[in-house]
Subunit: 413 residues, 2 copies
């Protein structure tokens, strides 16, 4: 069989320049989130197929990379479908493994548990520009805290991080699943069909209020309900109290208070140049959310760079009893792309020196050269030691292009 | 289907304490190796099955986790063997992916290419204490440098790293595949059977010279050859020149000079308390090595913590033309275990404070609390904000056990 040079479809080799940026961002993420008391954890890339296919992953369950059984357990002749042949698969997100992790290890964890996860996830998606089948996710979650302290800390930690990456002009949009439901109910939408309503509302960014009205009408929803619903959004604007008043229910009022308190406390810190506001049209796809939902959007780059919310019911599926949970996931790959486009450079760069050593230099002299390099490294410099090439000019130019500014030559005599 | 709480067999959930240590070691590894001019790279966890099964992985090829084909490509009814059902698998090491990476990307890389890889690899090994099916490997490799500068830098970088982790009393053992062969040939062992000889010699640590003699005899090797071979090791000790003299060939002399020069230049730097010496009995398992081989051993912990060598032929299998290559892999998991056993703590630990906030605190006050926390964080402290528990004493005790020394309470009035 011939060897294949290219990486597997949809998964990429990461080149040194990008990796330098990634390493820097990873260390900054760990530094910032750790200062908020989050603790790094890690779960295996491989998860039980039973857990991956348990209807908690939504559309992602269609994108699983399945891992084959091995040895005697693999019965190819007797297999009828793919699940007969596999016992595990690659994780498609970090939330499901976190729920399993918590249910398995909670006796050893400090409550409430504040977890930081950075790890690769895998989705057998159709490959397309900027979307890969293996990519890094970066999640923070607070498990066991029912109050809004969780939401506030998640948002503050994340906006602090984005600020340290020199990102600005972004918007934190906040809504609450309870508000979504109360607003829909107050207009007369049946609870069973509200998920459909929300899927249409979720397109607001692209089609506007008129487009939402049209799609609701086309889907056969009651015209009076649709009209009331649209006017509700027009009346509420970005004022949660107004939205609650228009929806006119106790539930909406409670959700509005929660949203208002979060916005007010977040505004008290603000470590970056951004806006935080209530957005009654924010839906977020994942059906597991139960309360507050939020998303960070950067208009300049036309997409969200982080999203999350409260999901109080999910961990109970593992533990048997409910555990309040709230999480925030930054779009690590998206942020790397944005930083690379902006030509972002890590602030702390070391001086870079190259020692060019002529071929045939004896061991005694080599030792002295190594010792000199060692002293510069101890002062914080990066020192690369290379054999002097025949074409020294080209050699120096290509190293200079990589940021090496100082060259020293050592000859064999 | 019921959800499964435990992680998949042989792969572990990493708890916060261990993860803190791992994160610290990872950042130190990147810092030290980067100062030597190594560049981080990353390859996908998933590799083409053709590459994984190309006879370059030795025994590891029996331990592949295979990933099933998807969609129309998966033909369960027509499949005869497992390779009909899979198109890829999880990588079992970082060396094979590095060779593929280099062959695919070399036009974009700075030559010689000095690569640092830290990544998880997967082996469907029988699970046993301390050995996992997913574990981190940490490799540095220099590609395109035929001279001993490569060996010296790899060893200096790695011993500097171990020194920074407060590890001492270790031994760097060096040998050369060419010396191994010359010594065996000079005693009359047929080249075809030398691999067998080396497999027996490799047991020296456990069975001693007498054991090696016995096993060679039992395997039917010529008694005269065996006697000469044993006396050669007795005569050579740790002096490469002596070994070359006894073997009496030009090849052995060249290998001895190379080994001697490496040892001398490495001794000139020495950033840790360790010994470096020639060991003619060092074999190292992987058959792809072509020249110098080395290993770091810590007697105290009864095992090797790093190993590597020169493998000038492997990358040529991808590129079609030979590329000199030399690599060093530290046993990341082994080092974490050793550091944990020693109770090692990272030197730079931040002050850790907890804010306990009474339930029901209003948004305005919450904002002020968050702002105060923010100021401490800017000073470099870790500040955790928790809701005050009913059992405050227990709450404080469990946080104190995690290193939180300062507690501040904020009441709801």
């Amino acid at each position: 069989m011939d060897l294949i040079k290219k990486s597997v479809t949809g998964m990429k080799d990461i080149l040194p320049d990008e990796m330098e940026l990634r390493d820097y961002v990873v260390s900054l993420v760990k530094e910032v989130y750790t200062s908020f008391g989050f603790q790094s954890i890690q779960t295996p890339c491989v998860e039980h197929i039973e857990n991956l296919c348990s209807n908690q992953g939504g559309e992602n369950e269609k994108l699983i990379f399945r891992i084959m059984k091995r040895g005697e357990k693999l019965d190819i002749a007797g297999a009828k479908n793919e699940n007969d042949l596999c016992d595990s698969g690659l994780r498609y997100d970090l939330t499901l493994p976190l729920s399993r992790y918590y249910s398995s290890n909670n006796a050893k964890l400090t409550m409430p548990f504040k977890a930081l996860q950075m790890g690769n996830v895998f989705r057998a998606d159709r490959p397309q520009k900027g979307r890969f089948r293996e990519f890094m996710q970066c999640d923070i979650d607070i498990l066991g805290e029912p109050g809004i302290i969780a939401e506030i800390e998640l948002i503050n930690a994340t906006t602090t991080l984005l600020g340290k990456l020199d990102l600005k002009d972004f918007t934190v949009r906040i809504n609450d699943r309870r508000m979504l439901k109360e607003m829909a109910s107050s207009c007369g939408f049946d609870e069973e069909r509200q998920q459909e309503v929300f899927i249409i509302l979720d397109k607001m960014d692209k089609i506007g209020l008129d487009g939402v009205r049209k799609e609701l009408t086309d889907a056969g929803f009651d015209a009076g309900s649709t009209d009331r619903y649209i006017s509700l959004f027009e009346g509420a604007g970005d004022d949660p109290a107004k939205a609650a008043q228009l929806a006119g229910s106790e539930g909406a009022k409670k959700a509005a208070e929660s949203i208002g308190s979060i916005i007010s406390a977040v505004n008290a810190v603000k470590n970056a140049d951004y806006t935080v506001r209530f957005d009654p049209t924010l839906v977020r796809g994942m059906s597991y959310y139960t309360g507050t939902i939020f998303e960070i959007e950067m208009k300049e780059f036309g997409s969200s760079v982080a999203g999350g919310g409260r999901y109080d019911d999910m961990i109970g599926n593992f533990t048997g009893s409910p555990v309040p949970a709230c999480g925030f996931s930054i779009g690590f790959e998206r942020i790397i792309t944005i930083l690379a486009e902006k030509g972002y450079r890590p602030s702390k760069e070391s001086r870079k020196t190259v020692f060019l050593v002529e071929k045939g230099t004896d061991a005694e002299k080599l030792g002295r050269i190594m010792k000199e390099a060692d002293e510069l490294r101890k002062e914080g410099q990066t020192v690369r030691i290379d054999t002097m090439a025949k074409n020294k000019k080209f050699q120096k130019e290509s190293l200079a292009a990589r940021g090496f500014t100082d060259f020293r030559e050592f000859f064999n005599n």
